[in-house]
Symmetry: D3
Subunit: 154 residues, 6 copies
Amino acid sequence: MEKIAIFPGSFDPFTVGHESIVRRAIPLFDQIIVAIGYNSAKSGYFPLEKRKNWIIDIFKNDVSIVVDTYEGLTTNFCKLKNAKYLLRGLRTAADFEYERAIAQMNKMIETELETVFILTAPEHSFISSTIVREVIRYGGDASKFVPKEIDLTL
Amino acid sequence: MEKIAIFPGSFDPFTVGHESIVRRAIPLFDQIIVAIGYNSAKSGYFPLEKRKNWIIDIFKNDVSIVVDTYEGLTTNFCKLKNAKYLLRGLRTAADFEYERAIAQMNKMIETELETVFILTAPEHSFISSTIVREVIRYGGDASKFVPKEIDLTL
Amino acid sequence: MEKIAIFPGSFDPFTVGHESIVRRAIPLFDQIIVAIGYNSAKSGYFPLEKRKNWIIDIFKNDVSIVVDTYEGLTTNFCKLKNAKYLLRGLRTAADFEYERAIAQMNKMIETELETVFILTAPEHSFISSTIVREVIRYGGDASKFVPKEIDLTL
Amino acid sequence: MEKIAIFPGSFDPFTVGHESIVRRAIPLFDQIIVAIGYNSAKSGYFPLEKRKNWIIDIFKNDVSIVVDTYEGLTTNFCKLKNAKYLLRGLRTAADFEYERAIAQMNKMIETELETVFILTAPEHSFISSTIVREVIRYGGDASKFVPKEIDLTL
Amino acid sequence: MEKIAIFPGSFDPFTVGHESIVRRAIPLFDQIIVAIGYNSAKSGYFPLEKRKNWIIDIFKNDVSIVVDTYEGLTTNFCKLKNAKYLLRGLRTAADFEYERAIAQMNKMIETELETVFILTAPEHSFISSTIVREVIRYGGDASKFVPKEIDLTL
Amino acid sequence: MEKIAIFPGSFDPFTVGHESIVRRAIPLFDQIIVAIGYNSAKSGYFPLEKRKNWIIDIFKNDVSIVVDTYEGLTTNFCKLKNAKYLLRGLRTAADFEYERAIAQMNKMIETELETVFILTAPEHSFISSTIVREVIRYGGDASKFVPKEIDLTL
């Protein structure tokens, strides 16, 4: 049976931290679906299409990486895609407590679903989409915090 | 003197975690007032009346449990009810830090007021009203996370 | 039925933090047993008898406080004393995680046993028996950290 | 070279905790700029001018304290002021994780910038501008939580 | 290439928490080596041979599980076994911070080595070998905390 | 008045993390005393003299850095040296809670004493003397974790 993992997030925008998690998880799974969760009632900072195209571009040479979007419960999307794994990165103890609640909730809804965690590299531990948006909003240069395929000036 | 405790919250909705805390605290106090704090300027996810009736139903056989609503400072409501105790559940370290700040603030405002903490059962440790609302919003089945008296489909 | 709580610890020595927790819990219980756990295979910093007499002296005017010693599992001592509550103070998030594991373990061994937590006052939040012993060991003055009934110079 | 530190915040309002951090840091720096960050797109609870005048009043006898306002990236304001230090207070473990991310982000943007942390006094550890606003909103008395120069009733 | 993971620990004794982590990770790897680290200079609570035989018995029907012992650096044992993954369970925020330091250290020593984390089930979150030994030492019944294959009375 | 800071620790051994904290704090103080605390009743892993000479060598070109040793309370050593500041590095939330207790205890013993914290660089956040000793004990190569002036093979 194929080992499929979902890497869910809003990726608004995708950061070097996200990229590092996905790349290091490639050998673990047959397929990783980078799944951009959206809420049609509220738009993000970057348009959904832009976020998706950036990620497609980043992984254009990685055949086992698929980029997709979904609305609604992550567990439903996993079932739809026949994915038995959720992939998440962990940076800090605060992260951990938040992720643990989500993962345990997901497992209670979908017993077969396992969340697999990989550590964010130390040099990425302070990078989050929220902080990146903050830097951009105030006119700062956030290019160091996103993969080189993402041109924030466009 | 009667030992009265306030169990304050927005209970939007009341969860199995909340129920377990209250039930286990029954022998400790002469009366526990489950007190739904509301803010007339912003409505909750479930109507206040519905939230209140659910909780009344859950504890209909428990004579020492009273359900009430209040607006404004919790410490004022405690004084009004002559309650010397606040009852709170603790799930995680993040919870603890938040609750500690609130409890110490309350004690500085009302020196006689003591906050008494009971641990959430391990199997409830990831359940919160916020996550339950999230599941409902996305069309998931949240019935496992609320007491059986709460019919979320109505 | 009498509400009996055990306040367990090695109390080597009893600190102003411990005293404050016990005093604030007095109205909650019919009896609080300050229970000094010891291990006959390893002696403490202060002799057990001394620790016990200090605590007796501190609460000599509080009729609902009893001081006792025990060896072995705390849950066994609770059963022996017919105590349904364990009382513990919480200072920090690290404390909380440690106390949670112990409390959940105790509850799994003795289902009826409930651990009730009260917050250490902010001004006592950094005081522990370990740090007090450290100060004494290096010839410092630790009198501010213990109740006035404890004369550390004897 | 002059040692200049920025103490950034929204200070909505300035609390006794903030005051204590600044006063204790005075001997460390030649100049401390208390810098009120604002966002012209969203107004605070108290008008910016009021917040500024309160802080000026609190430090009117301290020659090395300057009060200023800024919009945009804190790192840009530091460069503008030739400040090599950011000053921050730490209360809790949750605070620490948040502050660490901000500080490491700032250091990545501006390599020369060092964030210096001082501990909030234990008796101020639960005081935050957010909780103070909450107390005020509900008609409580928040005067104990702000410096005496701040008259919240005006 | 075979996907081999090492699940390192002293397993003194192996608990139901450990068992659950390994079982849930079976589909992720081609082989999982449960590796009992020992230190010839200090003996454990249970003899190494006993610990090993217990684990062999627990997984006797699981062909992809191998039980082994090692002394020295975990990273060296990984190289010896050609294992590219370390498997670890996470219970609490304190756990997380400890595990993160170890994992980052290991990755700095052996760049190719990835630590994969799975969450301990909520109902096992308070179980540790240390607490199990404590219960046994004081004559308590620890059978609920270890797999049924482990007979602690022998 | 001269601004003197003590950087206390057992430095068994001094790591690249320690070095980075001291170097970044140099501009903040007129003098930093790297103070190796020892306990004549128990020896360290590396001889005190060796630890001292290593640190002297590391800072041989930094005129404001002094290396010293002390036994007993850190607060007493501060008084002796007329130091009004303690300098400490912070890596993790667990670190923070431990350091906060020590710093508040020190401030209660010596009211004038202020502890100043600087963040460990992300890439050093997992390095501790304890982990370095562990690597050495098991025959690993720990040279990446200590300053180049320290030759662990001697």
